[in-house]
Amino acid sequence: MDFVTPQVVFTIWGMPITNTVTSTWIIMVIMIFLAWLLGRKKPIALEMIVDFITDLLGSTMGVEATPYVPFIGTFFLFIAGANVLGLIPGVENPTKDLNTTAALAITVFFSVYYFGIRSQGLVGYLKSLAKPIIILLPFELIGHFTRALSLTLRLFGNVISIELIVAIIFSLLPYFLPSVMALYGAATGLIQAYIFTILAATYIGAGVVTTEELVKRKLAAA
C-alpha cells in the first residue's frame, strides 16, 4: 500500500505536507506555464479548448454556458492535467489522494448553491428546492450530500484502482507492462475528468434557470 498511499514529505508548523500536495503545486506550475506559452505562441489552441468546454457545458446544462466555463472548465483542465502529468516520474497523481477529490467535490457542492442563488435569487432558489411539495425538501438536501460524496469516491476510486493495479503488476513483472497500464490509467483519468465535468455541470445546471424561464415566472406571479 505504500505505493499508493500519500506519503508525508515535510511539515510546515506541524502541518503535514504529503507528496500529493507537492505534486499539485508542480502540476499547477506546469499548467500555468503551458497556458502562458500557448497564449503567447498558439492562441488558437487555447480557443479550441475553450470552445470544446463551452459546447460541452452548453449541451449538458441547457442554458447559456459562458458564465460557468471558467469555473467548471478549470475542473476539467486540472483533473485531466493531473492524470496526464501524473505519468512523469516523481510527480504523483494528486487525485489518488482522497483529500484532493473531496476538496473538488466540496467546491462543487457549495457552487451549486452559489450559482443557484445568483441565477434565481434567494427566495426563488429556496422555492425551487421545495418544488413539488415541501415534504420532499429533506430528500433533496440528502441528495445534495450524496452527490458530493459520490463525486469524491468516484474519482478517487477510479484512480486508486488503476494505481493499485500498476503497483501489483510492478511487483509481479517490473519491466514494460506497468508503463502500459499507467498509460491506460491516464486514459481512464481523462474519461473521469470528462465525467466529473459533465456531472458538475448537471448539478449546477439543475439549480439555474434560463432568463426566459425567469421572465415567465415573473409574468405568472404578476
Binding site: 468516484r154 476510486g157 474519461i191 465525467i195 456531472l199
Partner: protein, 90 residues
C-alpha cells in the same frame, strides 16, 4: 482456531464473494445500457451525440456502485476495522 484467525478468514472469503458480486452486477447493467444506446444510435444516427453523452453519464453512475464495493473491500483487506475493534492488541 483463534478468534483473530476466524475473523481474518471470514474477511477474506467475504471480500472475494463481495468483489465478484459487486463487479459482475454493475458490468451486466453497463452492458445493458451500452446495448440499448447502440441500438438507439443505429436507429437514429442523428441523435448519436446526445446518446453518447447520456451513455457516458449513466455509465459513470452505474460504475460508482462497483467503485463503492472496491473501496469497501480495500478497507476490509488493508485496514480491517473489525480486527482493530475486537482485538486492539494486534
Amino acid at each position: 482456531m483463534s478468534p483473530e484467525l476466524i475473523v481474518t478468514i471470514t474477511t477474506i472469503i467475504v471480500t472475494g464473494l463481495g468483489i465478484v458480486l459487486g463487479t459482475a452486477l454493475p458490468a451486466l447493467a453497463e452492458g445493458k445500457a451500452a446495448q440499448k444506446a447502440l441500438e438507439g444510435m443505429a436507429r437514429q444516427p442523428e441523435a448519436a451525440g446526445d446518446l453518447r453523452t447520456t451513455l457516458l453519464i449513466s455509465m459513470a453512475l452505474l460504475e460508482t456502485t462497483a467503485i463503492y464495493v472496491l473501496l469497501i473491500m480495500l478497507i476490509l483487506i488493508f485496514a480491517n476495522p473489525l480486527l482493530d475493534r475486537f482485538f486492539p492488541a494486534l
